[in-house]
Protein backbone atom coordinates (compact mmCIF):
# COMPACT_ATOMS: atom_id res chain seq x y z
CA UNK A 1 0.00 0.00 0.00
CA UNK A 2 1.16 3.53 -0.76
CA UNK A 3 -0.54 6.93 -0.63
CA UNK A 4 -2.20 6.47 -4.01
CA UNK A 5 -3.78 3.12 -3.21
CA UNK A 6 -4.87 4.44 0.22
CA UNK A 7 -6.62 7.33 -1.56
CA UNK A 8 -8.21 4.87 -4.01
CA UNK A 9 -9.39 2.69 -1.10
CA UNK A 10 -10.98 5.72 0.57
CA UNK A 11 -12.70 6.81 -2.66
CA UNK A 12 -13.99 3.27 -3.24
CA UNK A 13 -15.17 2.64 0.31
CA UNK A 14 -16.77 6.06 0.77
CA UNK A 15 -17.84 7.13 -2.71
CA UNK A 16 -18.58 3.95 -4.65
CA UNK A 17 -19.98 2.34 -1.50
CA UNK A 18 -22.47 5.19 -1.20
CA UNK A 19 -23.47 4.85 -4.86
CA UNK A 20 -24.03 1.11 -4.40
CA UNK A 21 -26.39 1.95 -1.53
CA UNK A 22 -28.04 4.68 -3.60
CA UNK A 23 -28.62 2.47 -6.62
CA UNK A 24 -30.00 -0.44 -4.59
CA UNK A 25 -32.64 1.51 -2.65
CA UNK A 26 -35.01 4.40 -3.02
CA UNK A 27 -36.99 5.88 -5.90
CA UNK A 28 -35.90 5.70 -9.54
CA UNK A 29 -34.66 9.30 -9.62
CA UNK A 30 -32.15 8.55 -6.91
CA UNK A 31 -31.00 5.34 -8.55
CA UNK A 32 -30.15 6.88 -11.92
CA UNK A 33 -28.13 9.64 -10.22
CA UNK A 34 -26.27 7.01 -8.20
CA UNK A 35 -25.48 5.10 -11.39
CA UNK A 36 -24.07 8.27 -12.97
CA UNK A 37 -22.01 9.08 -9.88
CA UNK A 38 -20.59 5.54 -9.73
CA UNK A 39 -18.78 6.28 -12.99
CA UNK A 40 -17.42 9.61 -11.84
CA UNK A 41 -16.08 8.06 -8.63
CA UNK A 42 -14.80 4.72 -9.95
CA UNK A 43 -12.87 6.27 -12.85
CA UNK A 44 -10.64 8.47 -10.64
CA UNK A 45 -10.11 5.43 -8.40
CA UNK A 46 -8.85 3.47 -11.43
CA UNK A 47 -6.48 6.34 -12.28
CA UNK A 48 -5.22 6.42 -8.69
CA UNK A 49 -4.68 2.65 -8.82
CA UNK A 50 -2.70 2.95 -12.08
CA UNK A 51 -0.46 5.51 -10.37
CA UNK A 52 -0.24 3.46 -7.17
CA UNK A 53 0.77 0.27 -8.96
CA UNK A 54 3.07 2.33 -11.25
CA UNK A 55 1.53 0.76 -14.37
CA UNK A 56 0.84 3.38 -17.07
CA UNK A 57 -1.08 0.84 -19.16
CA UNK A 58 -3.69 0.55 -16.39
CA UNK A 59 -4.94 3.97 -17.53
CA UNK A 60 -6.69 2.27 -20.48
CA UNK A 61 -9.58 0.83 -18.38
CA UNK A 62 -10.10 4.30 -16.87
CA UNK A 63 -10.21 5.81 -20.37
CA UNK A 64 -12.81 3.26 -21.52
CA UNK A 65 -14.87 3.85 -18.36
CA UNK A 66 -14.75 7.63 -18.89
CA UNK A 67 -16.04 7.05 -22.44
CA UNK A 68 -18.67 4.38 -21.87
CA UNK A 69 -19.90 5.20 -18.35
CA UNK A 70 -21.77 8.36 -19.44
CA UNK A 71 -22.98 6.48 -22.52
CA UNK A 72 -24.53 3.93 -20.16
CA UNK A 73 -26.27 6.74 -18.26
CA UNK A 74 -27.54 8.10 -21.60
CA UNK A 75 -29.03 4.65 -22.28
CA UNK A 76 -31.03 4.94 -19.05
CA UNK A 77 -31.95 8.57 -19.74
CA UNK A 78 -33.20 7.62 -23.20
CA UNK A 79 -35.09 4.42 -22.42
CA UNK A 80 -36.47 5.41 -19.00
CA UNK A 81 -37.38 8.94 -20.20
CA UNK A 82 -41.11 8.44 -19.59
CA UNK A 83 -40.63 7.41 -15.97
CA UNK A 84 -38.05 10.14 -15.34
CA UNK A 85 -40.30 12.85 -16.76
CA UNK A 86 -42.84 12.25 -13.99
CA UNK A 87 -40.22 12.44 -11.29
CA UNK A 88 -37.09 14.15 -12.61
CA UNK A 89 -33.82 13.67 -10.71
CA UNK A 90 -32.33 16.82 -9.23
CA UNK A 91 -28.96 16.51 -7.57
CA UNK A 92 -26.74 19.14 -9.20
CA UNK A 93 -24.45 19.65 -6.22
CA UNK A 94 -23.66 15.96 -5.88
CA UNK A 95 -22.85 15.81 -9.57
CA UNK A 96 -20.63 18.89 -9.39
CA UNK A 97 -18.85 17.50 -6.33
CA UNK A 98 -18.16 14.15 -8.01
CA UNK A 99 -17.00 15.83 -11.23
CA UNK A 100 -14.78 18.14 -9.19
CA UNK A 101 -13.26 15.13 -7.45
CA UNK A 102 -12.44 13.59 -10.85
CA UNK A 103 -10.91 16.86 -12.07
CA UNK A 104 -8.80 17.25 -8.93
CA UNK A 105 -7.49 13.67 -9.18
CA UNK A 106 -6.58 14.14 -12.86
CA UNK A 107 -4.82 17.45 -12.18
CA UNK A 108 -2.85 16.04 -9.23
CA UNK A 109 -1.75 13.05 -11.31
CA UNK A 110 -0.73 15.41 -14.14
CA UNK A 111 1.38 17.54 -11.79
CA UNK A 112 3.05 14.45 -10.32
CA UNK A 113 3.67 12.79 -13.70
CA UNK A 114 5.10 15.83 -15.45
CA UNK A 115 4.51 16.91 -19.03
CA UNK A 116 4.71 13.97 -21.42
CA UNK A 117 2.51 11.75 -23.54
CA UNK A 118 0.91 10.10 -20.50
CA UNK A 119 -0.25 13.51 -19.31
CA UNK A 120 -2.14 14.05 -22.56
CA UNK A 121 -3.92 10.73 -22.05
CA UNK A 122 -4.82 11.70 -18.48
CA UNK A 123 -6.19 15.06 -19.63
CA UNK A 124 -8.28 13.38 -22.37
CA UNK A 125 -9.64 10.93 -19.79
CA UNK A 126 -10.44 13.75 -17.38
CA UNK A 127 -12.16 15.87 -20.02
CA UNK A 128 -14.26 12.92 -21.22
CA UNK A 129 -15.18 12.01 -17.63
CA UNK A 130 -16.19 15.47 -16.42
CA UNK A 131 -17.91 16.48 -19.67
CA UNK A 132 -19.66 13.13 -19.94
CA UNK A 133 -20.96 13.22 -16.38
CA UNK A 134 -22.31 16.74 -16.63
CA UNK A 135 -24.00 15.99 -19.97
CA UNK A 136 -25.40 12.71 -18.65
CA UNK A 137 -26.90 14.42 -15.60
CA UNK A 138 -28.38 17.06 -17.92
CA UNK A 139 -29.88 14.26 -20.01
CA UNK A 140 -31.35 12.62 -16.91
CA UNK A 141 -32.94 15.92 -15.77
CA UNK A 142 -35.16 16.28 -18.81
CA UNK A 143 -32.52 16.55 -21.54
CA UNK A 144 -34.17 13.69 -23.38
CA UNK A 145 -37.93 13.51 -23.63
CA UNK A 146 -38.84 10.05 -24.82
CA UNK A 147 -41.68 8.84 -26.91
CA UNK A 148 -43.12 5.37 -26.66
CA UNK A 149 -41.92 4.40 -30.10
CA UNK A 150 -38.66 6.32 -30.32
Amino acid sequence: MNGWTVAATAALAGGVGATVWGVATGPLRRRVVAQNLSTSLACPSLLLLAQGYDRPSYVDPALVLALLGPVGTLVFARLLAEDLEKDPPKAPWLTYAASGFGAVVVLVLCVVGGPDRAMGKLLVTGALLVGGNLIASRALAGGIAGSRHG
Binding site: L67, P70, V71, R78, I135, G143, I144, A145, G150
Partner: protein, 246 residues
Protein backbone atom coordinates in the same frame (compact mmCIF):
# COMPACT_ATOMS: atom_id res chain seq x y z
CA UNK B 1 -41.67 -38.40 -11.92
CA UNK B 2 -43.35 -36.79 -8.97
CA UNK B 3 -42.31 -33.49 -7.48
CA UNK B 4 -40.92 -35.25 -4.44
CA UNK B 5 -38.61 -37.53 -6.42
CA UNK B 6 -37.40 -34.58 -8.48
CA UNK B 7 -36.55 -32.63 -5.34
CA UNK B 8 -34.66 -35.61 -3.94
CA UNK B 9 -32.61 -35.96 -7.11
CA UNK B 10 -31.86 -32.25 -7.01
CA UNK B 11 -30.82 -32.47 -3.35
CA UNK B 12 -28.50 -35.44 -4.00
CA UNK B 13 -26.91 -33.74 -7.01
CA UNK B 14 -26.50 -30.45 -5.18
CA UNK B 15 -24.96 -32.13 -2.13
CA UNK B 16 -22.51 -34.03 -4.33
CA UNK B 17 -21.47 -30.85 -6.15
CA UNK B 18 -21.09 -29.00 -2.84
CA UNK B 19 -18.92 -31.79 -1.42
CA UNK B 20 -16.68 -31.76 -4.51
CA UNK B 21 -16.34 -27.97 -4.40
CA UNK B 22 -15.44 -28.00 -0.70
CA UNK B 23 -12.88 -30.75 -1.28
CA UNK B 24 -11.35 -28.77 -4.14
CA UNK B 25 -11.33 -25.57 -2.08
CA UNK B 26 -9.38 -27.23 0.74
CA UNK B 27 -6.60 -28.19 -1.69
CA UNK B 28 -6.28 -24.72 -3.27
CA UNK B 29 -3.00 -22.84 -2.81
CA UNK B 30 -3.32 -19.80 -0.54
CA UNK B 31 -4.69 -16.48 -1.88
CA UNK B 32 -1.95 -14.27 -3.30
CA UNK B 33 0.82 -16.88 -3.01
CA UNK B 34 4.09 -16.74 -4.92
CA UNK B 35 3.89 -20.07 -6.77
CA UNK B 36 2.34 -19.71 -10.23
CA UNK B 37 3.36 -22.75 -12.29
CA UNK B 38 1.03 -21.97 -15.21
CA UNK B 39 1.68 -18.22 -15.16
CA UNK B 40 5.45 -18.63 -15.23
CA UNK B 41 5.30 -20.96 -18.23
CA UNK B 42 2.82 -18.74 -20.10
CA UNK B 43 4.97 -15.63 -19.56
CA UNK B 44 8.07 -17.49 -20.76
CA UNK B 45 6.30 -18.71 -23.90
CA UNK B 46 4.90 -15.26 -24.68
CA UNK B 47 8.28 -13.55 -24.23
CA UNK B 48 9.87 -16.16 -26.51
CA UNK B 49 7.46 -15.04 -29.24
CA UNK B 50 8.01 -11.34 -28.38
CA UNK B 51 4.40 -10.68 -27.37
CA UNK B 52 4.38 -8.00 -24.68
CA UNK B 53 0.88 -8.73 -23.34
CA UNK B 54 0.87 -12.32 -22.08
CA UNK B 55 -2.94 -12.43 -22.12
CA UNK B 56 -2.93 -11.72 -25.87
CA UNK B 57 -0.33 -14.45 -26.35
CA UNK B 58 -2.52 -16.92 -24.45
CA UNK B 59 -5.67 -15.90 -26.35
CA UNK B 60 -4.29 -15.77 -29.86
CA UNK B 61 -1.22 -18.00 -29.80
CA UNK B 62 -1.00 -20.57 -27.02
CA UNK B 63 -4.76 -21.18 -26.92
CA UNK B 64 -5.84 -19.76 -30.27
CA UNK B 65 -8.09 -22.79 -30.78
CA UNK B 66 -10.09 -21.87 -27.64
CA UNK B 67 -10.61 -18.40 -29.07
CA UNK B 68 -11.88 -19.96 -32.30
CA UNK B 69 -14.47 -21.79 -30.20
CA UNK B 70 -15.47 -18.60 -28.39
CA UNK B 71 -15.77 -16.75 -31.68
CA UNK B 72 -18.01 -19.51 -33.05
CA UNK B 73 -20.23 -19.22 -29.96
CA UNK B 74 -20.69 -15.49 -30.55
CA UNK B 75 -21.25 -16.08 -34.28
CA UNK B 76 -23.84 -18.78 -33.64
CA UNK B 77 -25.68 -16.78 -30.99
CA UNK B 78 -25.93 -13.77 -33.30
CA UNK B 79 -27.18 -16.08 -36.05
CA UNK B 80 -29.79 -17.46 -33.67
CA UNK B 81 -30.87 -13.95 -32.69
CA UNK B 82 -31.23 -12.94 -36.32
CA UNK B 83 -33.47 -15.95 -36.97
CA UNK B 84 -35.54 -15.61 -33.78
CA UNK B 85 -36.08 -11.84 -33.95
CA UNK B 86 -36.89 -11.62 -37.66
CA UNK B 87 -40.04 -9.85 -38.81
CA UNK B 88 -42.75 -12.49 -39.05
CA UNK B 89 -45.72 -12.45 -41.42
CA UNK B 90 -48.20 -11.03 -38.88
CA UNK B 91 -45.93 -8.15 -37.95
CA UNK B 92 -45.44 -4.79 -39.60
CA UNK B 93 -42.93 -1.99 -39.31
CA UNK B 94 -44.07 1.23 -37.69
CA UNK B 95 -42.21 4.44 -38.30
CA UNK B 96 -40.21 5.28 -35.16
CA UNK B 97 -41.12 8.61 -33.61
CA UNK B 98 -38.17 10.95 -33.09
CA UNK B 99 -37.44 11.80 -29.48
CA UNK B 100 -36.67 15.29 -28.21
CA UNK B 101 -32.99 15.51 -27.36
CA UNK B 102 -31.51 18.69 -25.84
CA UNK B 103 -28.82 20.33 -27.95
CA UNK B 104 -25.86 19.78 -25.57
CA UNK B 105 -26.68 16.08 -25.33
CA UNK B 106 -26.86 15.80 -29.12
CA UNK B 107 -23.55 17.65 -29.55
CA UNK B 108 -21.94 15.40 -26.94
CA UNK B 109 -23.12 12.31 -28.82
CA UNK B 110 -21.80 13.61 -32.14
CA UNK B 111 -18.39 14.46 -30.64
CA UNK B 112 -17.94 11.33 -28.55
CA UNK B 113 -19.00 8.97 -31.38
CA UNK B 114 -15.75 9.34 -33.41
CA UNK B 115 -13.66 9.55 -30.24
CA UNK B 116 -15.08 6.28 -28.93
CA UNK B 117 -14.68 4.68 -32.36
CA UNK B 118 -10.99 5.68 -32.45
CA UNK B 119 -10.50 4.43 -28.89
CA UNK B 120 -12.04 1.09 -29.86
CA UNK B 121 -9.68 0.81 -32.83
CA UNK B 122 -6.77 1.77 -30.55
CA UNK B 123 -7.69 -0.96 -28.08
CA UNK B 124 -7.90 -3.50 -30.93
CA UNK B 125 -4.61 -2.44 -32.56
CA UNK B 126 -2.67 -2.48 -29.28
CA UNK B 127 -4.09 -5.77 -28.02
CA UNK B 128 -0.72 -7.51 -28.01
CA UNK B 129 1.03 -4.58 -26.31
CA UNK B 130 -1.25 -3.24 -23.57
CA UNK B 131 -4.44 -4.42 -21.84
CA UNK B 132 -7.24 -4.91 -24.33
CA UNK B 133 -7.65 -6.76 -27.58
CA UNK B 134 -10.10 -7.60 -30.28
CA UNK B 135 -13.08 -8.35 -28.04
CA UNK B 136 -12.84 -5.27 -25.83
CA UNK B 137 -12.08 -2.87 -28.67
CA UNK B 138 -14.74 -4.38 -30.91
CA UNK B 139 -17.44 -3.86 -28.29
CA UNK B 140 -16.31 -0.26 -27.67
CA UNK B 141 -16.35 0.53 -31.40
CA UNK B 142 -19.79 -1.04 -31.88
CA UNK B 143 -21.20 0.79 -28.85
CA UNK B 144 -19.87 4.07 -30.28
CA UNK B 145 -22.13 3.82 -33.33
CA UNK B 146 -25.22 3.52 -31.14
CA UNK B 147 -24.57 6.96 -29.65
CA UNK B 148 -26.45 8.11 -32.72
CA UNK B 149 -29.60 6.36 -31.43
CA UNK B 150 -29.10 7.75 -27.93
CA UNK B 151 -28.26 11.30 -29.02
CA UNK B 152 -30.65 11.57 -31.96
CA UNK B 153 -33.16 8.97 -33.09
CA UNK B 154 -33.34 5.53 -34.63
CA UNK B 155 -33.78 6.84 -38.19
CA UNK B 156 -30.43 8.64 -37.98
CA UNK B 157 -28.72 5.44 -36.84
CA UNK B 158 -30.31 3.46 -39.66
CA UNK B 159 -28.87 5.89 -42.21
CA UNK B 160 -25.24 5.12 -41.33
CA UNK B 161 -25.73 1.46 -40.41
CA UNK B 162 -26.46 -0.81 -43.37
CA UNK B 163 -27.01 -4.06 -41.43
CA UNK B 164 -26.31 -6.26 -44.46
CA UNK B 165 -22.79 -4.88 -44.73
CA UNK B 166 -22.11 -5.70 -41.08
CA UNK B 167 -23.44 -9.24 -41.55
CA UNK B 168 -20.98 -9.71 -44.43
CA UNK B 169 -18.19 -8.21 -42.30
CA UNK B 170 -19.01 -10.61 -39.48
CA UNK B 171 -18.74 -13.63 -41.77
CA UNK B 172 -15.59 -12.31 -43.50
CA UNK B 173 -13.81 -11.72 -40.18
CA UNK B 174 -14.76 -15.19 -38.92
CA UNK B 175 -13.39 -16.77 -42.08
CA UNK B 176 -10.24 -14.61 -41.90
CA UNK B 177 -9.53 -16.22 -38.52
CA UNK B 178 -10.04 -19.68 -40.02
CA UNK B 179 -7.88 -18.88 -43.06
CA UNK B 180 -5.02 -17.67 -40.83
CA UNK B 181 -5.31 -20.95 -38.93
CA UNK B 182 -5.29 -22.99 -42.15
CA UNK B 183 -2.25 -21.04 -43.38
CA UNK B 184 -0.43 -22.30 -40.30
CA UNK B 185 -1.46 -25.83 -41.20
CA UNK B 186 -0.36 -25.50 -44.83
CA UNK B 187 2.84 -23.73 -43.80
CA UNK B 188 4.03 -27.03 -42.37
CA UNK B 189 3.20 -26.81 -38.67
CA UNK B 190 -0.25 -27.22 -37.12
CA UNK B 191 -3.66 -25.51 -37.28
CA UNK B 192 -3.37 -21.96 -35.88
CA UNK B 193 0.34 -22.47 -35.17
CA UNK B 194 2.23 -19.18 -34.83
CA UNK B 195 5.23 -20.15 -36.97
CA UNK B 196 4.60 -18.42 -40.31
CA UNK B 197 5.42 -14.78 -39.70
CA UNK B 198 8.58 -13.26 -38.17
CA UNK B 199 8.12 -12.39 -34.51
CA UNK B 200 9.35 -8.80 -35.03
CA UNK B 201 10.71 -6.38 -32.45
CA UNK B 202 9.39 -6.66 -28.89
CA UNK B 203 6.76 -4.06 -27.92
CA UNK B 204 5.94 -2.80 -31.43
CA UNK B 205 2.69 -3.10 -33.39
CA UNK B 206 4.06 -5.80 -35.70
CA UNK B 207 5.48 -8.05 -32.96
CA UNK B 208 4.10 -11.46 -32.08
CA UNK B 209 3.75 -13.18 -35.48
CA UNK B 210 0.12 -13.98 -36.26
CA UNK B 211 -1.16 -12.56 -32.94
CA UNK B 212 -2.00 -9.07 -34.34
CA UNK B 213 -3.72 -10.61 -37.38
CA UNK B 214 -5.95 -12.91 -35.32
CA UNK B 215 -6.57 -10.03 -32.92
CA UNK B 216 -7.75 -7.77 -35.74
CA UNK B 217 -10.00 -10.54 -37.12
CA UNK B 218 -11.62 -10.98 -33.70
CA UNK B 219 -12.00 -7.22 -33.35
CA UNK B 220 -13.88 -6.94 -36.63
CA UNK B 221 -15.96 -10.03 -35.89
CA UNK B 222 -17.04 -8.78 -32.47
CA UNK B 223 -17.77 -5.24 -33.67
CA UNK B 224 -19.94 -6.47 -36.57
CA UNK B 225 -21.64 -9.11 -34.41
CA UNK B 226 -22.59 -6.56 -31.72
CA UNK B 227 -23.94 -4.15 -34.35
CA UNK B 228 -26.08 -6.90 -35.92
CA UNK B 229 -27.27 -8.10 -32.50
CA UNK B 230 -28.28 -4.60 -31.39
CA UNK B 231 -29.91 -3.95 -34.77
CA UNK B 232 -32.25 -6.92 -34.20
CA UNK B 233 -33.08 -5.79 -30.67
CA UNK B 234 -33.64 -2.18 -31.76
CA UNK B 235 -35.85 -3.27 -34.67
CA UNK B 236 -38.00 -5.27 -32.30
CA UNK B 237 -38.17 -2.62 -29.58
CA UNK B 238 -38.68 0.40 -31.80
CA UNK B 239 -40.12 -0.58 -35.18
CA UNK B 240 -41.77 -3.98 -35.39
CA UNK B 241 -45.38 -4.21 -34.19
CA UNK B 242 -47.93 -6.97 -34.16
CA UNK B 243 -50.49 -6.62 -36.95
CA UNK B 244 -54.03 -5.79 -35.88
CA UNK B 245 -53.07 -4.63 -32.39
CA UNK B 246 -54.32 -1.10 -32.88
Amino acid sequence: MTRRVRLWILAVGGAGLAALLVAACLELPGFGGTSHPYGDRAVRASLARRTANTIASINFDQRAFDTLGEMSILFASVLGTVVLLRQTRDERRAKPEPAYVALPVRRYALIVLPVALLTGLYVIAHGQLSPGGGFQGGVVAATALHLLYLGADYRALERIRPVGLYEVGDALAASAYLVTGLAGLIGGAAFLANTLLPYGTFNTLSSGGTVPLLNAAIGMEVACAVVVLLARFLDQAVEIEQEGGT
